[in-house]
């Protein structure tokens, strides 16, 4: 995908998220709505800066997605998967033996799992990036 197409995709996603945020606020869910707008703007800005850097590197003739990055992402993905499986297995085992039965909102729970997964990946990627 080229730079312009990427920017358009980010802008459209941002607009949808901001629209949803405004709709949530109009429905009285001010905290969730404003957090969604804030997060959308934050992520949009970070992505824009990142893409601009990549574009500058490519313009110089450098390759931002070279073999070292592929090596690090591969190792980070593998370790993230291993950690996630072990965490889930431990949680299931301990929870089913000792824990009480809980009523959980599946959307909140999946959101929490996704956030944990991303955090593990970022931490592991940073570590491998430092070591390699």
């Amino acid at each position: 995908m080229n730079f312009r197409r990427n920017i358009t995709a980010i802008a459209v996603t941002l607009l949808i998220l901001i629209g949803m945020g405004i709709w949530l606020i109009s429905q009285g869910n001010i905290a969730f709505g404003s957090s969604m707008i804030g997060a959308a703007i934050g992520v949009g800005l970070v992505r824009y800066i990142e893409m601009k850097k990549i574009r500058e590197m490519q313009a110089k003739g450098l390759n931002p997605y070279d073999e070292r990055i592929v090596f690090i992402t591969g190792k980070a993905s593998h370790l993230t998967l291993t950690i996630s499986i072990l965490l889930a297995a431990g949680f299931i085992l301990i929870g089913s033996v000792f824990g009480p039965e809980l009523q959980v909102n599946p959307y909140n729970f999946l959101g929490f799992c996704l956030a944990v997964l991303i955090l593990i990946y970022v931490a592991v990627y940073y570590r491998y990036s430092k070591d390699n």
């Binding site: 003739g61 450098l62 931002p64 070292r68």
Partner: protein, 66 residues
């Protein structure tokens, strides 16, 4: 794996960025190879050797693992 990349690059008055452009990787990769933190693939090792007009074994020193 030990290597003489930094020494060879400096002898030819090349910056890390120049070398990265020459072999088509990022500057960070050249830094990591020079610091011996990252062992390049065979393809990259050949590209680096070719860019200096040398053989791979003139740049990289293989050491048997104990």
């Amino acid at each position: 794996m030990k290597n003489r990349l930094r020494q060879l690059r400096e002898e030819r008055n090349l910056t890390q960025e120049d070398l990265a452009i020459l072999v088509g990787v990022s500057r960070q990769t050249i830094i990591s190879v020079e610091k011996e933190k990252y062992n390049p693939s065979l393809v990259l090792a050949f590209q680096l050797a070719n860019s200096f007009g040398l053989k791979i074994e003139d740049i990289f020193i293989f050491e048997e693992m104990e």
